[in-house]
């Protein structure tokens, strides 16, 4: 027993020493020039922990895109290599460690991070190292405050504006109730921009109801307020779990307005034992729907399923796939070679992306970027029909 304990202590010490070597190894390597025909893309996201499915999806889809580009002979003869580190969606040291490891592995361009918290932890580092950073899915506004960081996904508040525009332009409803989570930055961010834009577009907001993370099972008071205000549509800038409860409770209160939500509702159809008929007719803005019928999506979903044991790609996968392809397009446009320094590449790419560059991807057609880093693309709205997404 004693021997076993000693052995364990020794091996633990060895592992720790080993991991320290990789984590605190000298960071000057990223300044070294890579080989002439390979560019290293560094990815960072949660591969373990509660948000693991987001990070794994990003890693898988990015690898798929890299393989596709390399099989087609690369761009201008330059091939890509993906290195990926686990940041556990942590907003502190773990994200920084992942970033340092990526630099050790010779990262020249960064695809990441996957989550907002980790991204905020490293944006000032990518800024001072001058590394071009494109995040597939970190959606907070603060993520792009530096000039070297760009987003593939919509910035949170933009979803609110896009939703209000969509409802007003397509004349979906006039009298609108909102139910949002006032304890969540994502939800209240969308709520604020939605409200401003809705008023500008002449929509009539008849009820504004909130809930908090401590009381999110009973929505009877909120639904009662929307019902007595005779709302024609309830806007739900919230996550799918609460939305599924609101749909069920509206039904049992004999209240059948239209429902409209953002990408947080994506996933509602896969809630365990959820009665899909409740979601019939629910509209949502989502950048990606795996069962959309356009050729690009079909091709991507098929390739992803073949490579990853029949797993259906989610919007994070689509964002990452687009992200790699965007980087490849920019590399082609600027004739970047594998032996250029990360900082040199960054200077060229950050100028190129906001300078008349446009990309048609899975998550939007005609994507363009402002020099601030926010993406502009037409939001895709889908309606749930017969238990599936259908385009509106």
């Amino acid at each position: 027993m004693k021997f076993a304990k000693k052995l364990m202590a020794l091996s633990l010490a060895a592992v720790m020493a080993g991991s320290c070597l990789t984590a605190c190894g000298d960071s000057s390597k990223s300044d070294e020039k890579g080989s002439e025909d390979t560019i290293v893309i560094g990815g960072s996201g949660p591969l373990t922990g509660g948000a693991a499915q987001y990070g794994v999806a990003v890693k898988n889809a990015a690898q798929l895109a890299v393989d596709e580009i390399n099989e087609a002979g690369g761009v201008n003869g330059v091939k890509f290599k993906l290195v990926f580190e686990d940041d556990e969606a942590d907003g502190g040291d773990k994200a920084v460690n992942a970033y340092n490891s990526l630099k050790d592995k010779g990262m020249q361009v960064m695809l990441g991070t996957v989550t907002t918290g980790s991204c905020l932890a490293i944006i000032d580092k990518t800024k001072s190292d001058n590394i071009f950073q494109l995040t597939p899915s970190a959606s907070a506004q603060d993520v792009i405050k530096n000039d070297n960081t760009f987003q593939v996904c919509f910035t949170d508040p933009n979803q609110g504006k896009a939703s209000a525009d969509y409802i007003a332009d397509n004349n979906i409803a006039k009298k609108i109730a909102i139910i949002y989570d006032s304890s969540d930055a994502y939800s209240s961010g969308i709520y604020n921009t939605f409200k401003t834009e809705a008023q500008e577009k002449g929509l009539d907001i008849v009820a504004e109801q909130s809930f908090t993370k401590d009381s999110k099972t009973d929505f009877s008071a909120q639904i009662s307020a929307a019902k007595s205000a005779e709302a024609e549509l309830i806007f739900l800038p919230i996550y799918y779990q609460e939305a599924s409860l609101i749909l069920a409770q509206c039904k049992s209160a004999d209240f059948a307005p239209k429902f409209f939500g953002c990408d947080g509702l994506d996933g509602i159809l896969s809630v365990d034992n959820f009665d899909k008929s409740l979601a019939e007719g629910v509209m949502l803005l989502t950048p990606f729907a795996a069962d959309a019928t356009d050729d690009d999506t079909q091709k991507f979903v098929k390739a992803y399923k073949e490579k990853y044991k029949d797993e259906t790609p989610n919007q994070f996968a689509a964002d990452a796939y687009d992200g790699v392809k965007i980087i490849a397009k920019l590399v082609e446009k600027e004739s970047i070679k594998g032996n250029m320094k990360a900082s040199e590449i960054c200077d060229k790419l950050k100028k190129a992306i906001s300078d008349g560059f446009s990309y048609d991807g899975l998550t939007g057609k005609g994507m363009t970027w402002s020099s601030e880093g926010a993406v502009s693309k037409n939001p895709k709205a889908v309606v749930i029909k017969d238990g599936n997404y259908a385009s509106l």
Binding site: Q209, D218, Q222, K227, Q241, Q249
Partner: protein, 293 residues
């Protein structure tokens, strides 16, 4: 109209709190301990019904029966394993054990059923009542919750006051040692109390999950605490008090959410607890007793 709607929603929520509060009050009244794991027994009841109905395809009434049996067994086991060895310990030790048991149950559920919340299928198929051209709707779940809570209060009162076992409970509640001297088996009486309380928790779990159809490992935690407030409000140890306290807390919570602020509705409920403790610590129907805690 909206006020009436909110009032009905409040009574509906309150009836569920009442059934949970009955479990708290019963155990406190007889065993003189706060069983903080009570809320989590509710959650276990919910999962049993869910598994029986969805995974095993059982009939809804049979599933409810199974849940009551499972929770009763669980309640007796918890009492035997965790609380009985502490019968002579200070009430603080018992309280902390109860909190530990609560976390144990929550994390076991997390381990077995996973972190993804499940959507519960309502087992209640009473038709809804529509009033004023559908402006106010009384859900089947509301009707069921009110009827079930009244039936339970009446049955429990009759049981406690008019049967031999019930009177044994009252005797143990008055004075454990004297009851033992009179030939009452204190241990089996306390076990019976836990069995009834946990069976009620299963019923509360079914009502709760049918009204608000979601199920996760923390489903019972918040309603459990609110029901505890209700039990104190009504007078802990008193059966009709739990009913009155439950309904009042439910109505206060919903009206607070609708007319004051959704952010503050929980705060209002707990402010009520503080006020009751300050003004009338024994609650609405509580007996004046000298407390040793």
């Amino acid at each position: 109209m909206a006020f009436l709607d909110n009032l009905i929603n409040g009574i509906s929520l309150g009836s569920i709190y009442a059934v949970i509060a009955l479990g708290y009050t019963l155990v406190y009244g007889i065993a003189k301990m706060l069983n903080f794991a009570h809320g989590d027994v509710i959650m276990v009841g919910g999962y049993v019904v869910f598994t029986a109905m969805v995974d095993w395809g059982m009939n809804s009434w049979l599933s409810v029966g199974l849940a009551i049996v499972a929770c009763t067994v669980l309640g007796i086991t918890i009492e035997k394993v965790a609380y009985k060895p502490l019968r002579k310990a200070t009430s603080l030790s018992v309280l902390i054990t109860a909190i530990g048991m609560s976390y144990f149950l929550q994390n076991m559920a997390l381990l077995i059923f996973g972190e993804k919340p499940k959507t519960f299928t309502s087992v209640i198929n009473i038709p809804k009542i529509s009033l004023f051209d559908g402006k106010v709707v009384i859900k089947g779940e509301t009707t069921a919750a009110i009827i079930v809570s009244i039936v339970i209060v009446v049955c429990l009162s009759l049981f406690v006051n008019h049967t031999q076992k019930g009177r044994a409970m009252l005797a143990v509640s008055e004075d454990k040692d004297a009851a033992q001297l009179m030939g009452i088996n204190v241990n089996s009486t306390i076990s019976l109390t836990f069995a009834i309380g946990s069976g009620l928790a299963a019923v509360a779990g079914v009502l709760l999950c049918s009204s608000y159809p979601t199920l996760s490992n923390t489903t019972g935690a918040m309603p459990g605490i609110k029901a505890f407030v209700a039990a104190v409000f009504g007078g802990i140890g008193s059966i009709p008090g739990a009913m009155i306290g439950g309904i009042l807390i439910g109505v206060i919570e919903i009206l607070g959410r609708a007319y004051i602020s959704p952010q503050l509705s929980d705060a209002i409920v707990f402010a009520v607890l503080i006020l009751v403790l300050m003004i009338k610590p024994t609650g609405i129907l509580g007996k004046k007793i000298n407390e040793k805690v």
